[in-house]
Symmetry: D2
Subunit: 379 residues, 4 copies
């Protein structure tokens, strides 16, 4: 499903890609010195390495206006597919984006003599939050300990430290800060404390968990909009009703399969943007989970949203300062400090466009095919 039939109108060749980069340069005033500089000839490739989808119209709190979205992928058709979704949402007035939560975690596990000692420790943590916070924050300029969640099993008490981390993804930062806090806790003579593990799979780092879906890891972002029914037919060659019926089946498929997401392919946008923009690509594991929701309005329009509960992104530090990657962030106007929420919004808006594009392709194909096969259109 992730590789749609090539659309000749959107297909890429080396020349088109270069021309498109020029458009992007002009539109964004970014100098693309490294993007498109290869040690081989991309025209020899079945797909291409780097493309810009768009323009994407975002109605965010941080990202406002049109953006050309860099996608590093060997699937040229993917760029075309995202561009098609972006055209739809642009003509519908743009994607509204909202960051609803923001926290990065490390979740140490404290092991006690028994459950009562673990429970007493839980109370102690509440009472000593300020001291723990002070200790943790000694290790970091940007990290702030926002709160500590507690989870009790047997004689163990897991603490889930929630930090805000500025413009960094922050896994390093919160690990050091949490470790510092844990070592300090260990020195406080807590009754019955046997030992602690700095991590024991509750964070949940580098793998998705329902806990992350519930309580956010990184940014929790919603992208949403209402699509006029007529626009869906004109641009996507399908109907709001058909998309909505597909949503019902997809919800069922997700519940039945125990999937981490009821979306179609969030991972495609996220992986392609993460590579292009210098993000830690291992975080695709967590960042690609989420929730899709659709609703037919009274007038037949189609409201859709995607929620990314654990989107881990950075606009400073790590791979973001590599030349090509930095250029890609700069094209989005999202490199450096105080840009991470803007970048998060653009990612979420892009994910939504990809869902609409692929969803429409699935539905339209079947409708068309059904028509061909049966000599009738579906009511």
């Amino acid at each position: 499903m992730d590789r749609l039939p090539r659309d000749p109108d959107n297909d890429y060749t080396r020349e088109i890609a270069a021309a498109r980069r020029r458009v992007v340069c002009e539109a964004t005033h970014a100098a693309l010195a490294h993007v498109g500089s290869f040690s081989f000839d991309p025209a020899t490739l079945p797909g291409h390495l780097e493309g810009f989808a768009g323009p994407l119209l975002v109605d965010g709190e941080y990202a406002r206006g049109e953006f050309y979205v860099p996608l590093a992928t060997t699937e040229g058709t993917l760029v075309a597919s995202y561009s098609r979704g972006m055209r739809l949402t642009r003509e519908a007035g743009g994607v509204r984006t909202t960051v609803v939560d923001d926290a990065m975690q490390r979740a140490p596990c404290f092991v006690f003599r028994d459950a009562r000692a673990a429970r007493a420790f839980g109370n102690w943590v509440v009472s000593n939050f300020d001291a723990i916070k002070a200790k943790a924050e000694e290790t970091t300029h940007y990290g702030r300990l926002r709160n500590i969640e507690q989870y009790a099993v047997g004689k163990m008490r897991f603490l889930r430290f929630d930090f805000t981390t500025g413009d960094a993804a922050g896994q390093n930062m919160v690990t050091k800060a949490t470790r510092q806090a844990c070592l300090w806790i260990q020195q406080q003579g807590i009754d019955g404390l046997e030992h602690f593990a700095l991590a024991a799979n509750l964070d949940t780092d580098k793998k998705h968990s329902l806990l992350n879906s519930l309580h956010t890891r990184g940014k929790r972002v919603v992208a949403e909009l209402t699509l006029p029914a007529a626009l869906i037919e004109t641009i996507m060659h399908t109907t709001a009703q058909a998309l909505f019926e597909q949503r019902q089946l997809s919800n069922l498929g997700s519940l039945l399969s125990g999937s981490v997401s009821n979306g179609a392919h969030y991972a495609n946008a996220i992986a392609a943007m993460f590579i292009a923009c210098g993000q830690d690509v291992a975080n695709v594991a967590e960042s690609s989970a989420g929730f899709s929701y659709g609703e037919i309005k009274g007038n037949g329009d189609y409201y859709v949203s995607v929620t990314l509960p654990s989107l881990i992104v950075a606009t400073y530090g790590g791979g973001t300062s590599l030349p090509t990657q930095r250029e890609c962030l700069e094209v989005l106007g999202a490199y450096g400090h105080d840009q991470v929420l803007k970048f998060a919004e653009i990612v979420a808006a892009t994910v939504l466009c990809g869902e609409l594009s692929l969803g429409s392709a699935i539905v339209a194909d079947e409708w068309v095919s059904a028509h061909e096969a049966l000599g009738r259109s579906r009511p």
Copy 2:
């Protein structure tokens, strides 16, 4: 946790990276023309783009001997960490790898008048498997329809088509083949069939699901070995018992958080190898799930295994033919036809080394810290 403190003995500079590439060239007789050819100066970067961890000693059915494993990451310490795990497993005799299953899916959902019609269709599918298989395989040279799983909910019948796909990851291939079969089914006058959706989140493509963990997506690979207790102490500065206790807490953390994996950070190895070797990086979402298992043997040695139930890899087609990526596969002797199981084994062995390295670091740090803090070592 994913970013360990830098180990000065293993740290990378541009010179060391180049020297390391020379070693890899000599050891593997691969010409690295593109790996290490950048349009910018990697020495200016905080980390580096491409490193080789190893050598990794694999005792597989397809991968046999020592391998230098390409990791594309901006975290130099990650390469160092994997190398440390590889040293441990090499000195322990190497990692035994086994591909235990292999299938790629597309799971259409057929919607009927009622549950009885859906059930009758289920029986029809069993009776007509040969015809369905013939129809599906018309579209592909390499894809073979192995079997069709069936899942029943309400008036829907999901069919999960399982294909083998040669050396390709195969999502495209199985989508086309399944679509062809579905269109043919639609023409057979099945009683009560209303329509079908070619995909409805049961595949589960580009997102993890428990169904994938149970029934495999891509390759199902096990990497395992028994580590002598003394070796763990010498190389990892911790003990088998400490690693095993950490495993118990991690199992609990995974059960409690509803994680898709009880491993520590499978995604790190998988993302870095996927980028380096031209894999579809969006598949990190599915490929990074899995199961870790540990066991203290009677003599105190430590048996460990990782199981990757949904590893999606290719050694031909797509991004594998890009120059740098192809070189990386060639360094592993895993480019081209009939190499995909070899590559899958190397990925799984690498994942296991990373689990041992990070697991040891977590445990050793805490032990050391506890010692510093309390003036005693833990029994």
Copy 3:
């Protein structure tokens, strides 16, 4: 939610309960000697112990016609609530029920030297299925080994033995049969077999699992019907559209919470019928999971279904032969041999009626309340 406001038209007193039992007797020609015979005075209780909801009109393959459904509960309003749902579905033409699968399991775990030995064993099991089946069936008159599912992790191979078990729930039967087969397997000189555990939580007995939802435990039953829009308004004081919108939110709530069911309260019907009819009440844990689905038809009618993937029921043996419990089964015409699928159908139909009744109450209440609060009705 499970305890609705008392409906004075449906409320129970001792006299009404007795009168209702007389109605049931006459309608079903069952002698209720034990039902309603208490060692205390039920009129002194806040609720009552045993009620009959209905009549329930079932359009099943085994259950056909009207049934008075025994519910053992201390919540009189529960009986009233189910009766209301039964009135709705009766006037809509009855609930269509279909048993789509039937199997009871025991899932031993075989532990091997390594994953390769485990894989070889997997192949051996396929080749030796007939012999394994013969051995297993030596221990039972009714149990038939239908197939063996295989699940591979590390050096373990879980076998999930699927039996049909006649009119018994069959957990005992399949445990003995599987044990016999395992002991025989153990004697066959399987290479690398270290030991086996007769059970290791994959069955999954006495607790729900997604595996059970996917692959059935006990009976997999669907109950479904299409409700005329007008009937929903007349009887339920709400609309098809409102019920459908509630379904959307409930789907989201279930996905987000990681629930074993997207239904509202399957457990209420199942627990009350299980107690009344001599079922093993511990099986409520597994039997109460399931999937709800709704669909607005072109003409505004509302199609609904419930799927119970792991309904564990018996009509012979165990508690079914206790006098009161047997009477309750006899009221349904479902005591004894060859009745278990009939009973399963009635349970599923009852669950569906309860979902409609509670769902309507939630929605209608809010609609009414919104009206009161805001002086307007919702469009």
Copy 4:
């Protein structure tokens, strides 16, 4: 697995059951007028209806000393099996029990114009907690609104109201209180609020969810103790090591199957005690989930715990006031006000005994059988 081979030393006949009731009466000074009063002859039954397991030695904060635990079951062997586990734990010094959390929920879903309005509402709820609490508590004498959890998806905001509910299970109480609060919220002119649903499957009422496992529903109780290695051999005919190895496989089986519990059969104890003691049996669905944990101590002893994260119990109101059920609670000294935590502790301790008994039976049987089959005992 739930029905073990009958142990002739523990088997029940009508006489033994009566004698046992006399013992219980004398030990507990409770008058068992209704327990054992049947309208039929229990000696004609394959099993029996009501048994007392024990004595169970509990070292709780509320339950202290020996208890005879009423189990309503048709499986006489179940009572015997629990009694065996109780003997083991009694001789080991008793089961330590701890209630670590206590809350009952209703989780309404508020639907807004868009995600920003939903987010603003989330902040409003935090600022107006005291007013919401006051409004909710108007409807109840015992219910106290402890806190409100918030979960964000799309344009929805789920609020999970956490109440303490005195000695009642409290579902009714919290539904009324939450409804009152929601109606009040609806009148406050919240910007963008479209409507709310009083429940939408996030509670999660009458079905298990991971959310309940994480955040408690009803009582969260831990039962734990350390078993001397020798006692396991004497009483259970197996070893600590064997039990621990079985735990490893069971953890794996639970992770792989997506089970709501890694325990063996919590539901058996819970269902039998719930029926006997007048609890709402539908709550078996939620109450039977949980977490088992085991640890071999340095000296070879075996530490075990069970955690019940969502145990829903009452000692006052509902079915607890029925004569037989009240008697059963009185036998435990747990009828009436301020007894609910005591009862919760006894349930958890009973669950633990059942886990040990069944676990040992599984392991011992296989060990014996392996011995018979292979002419050797396993190390």
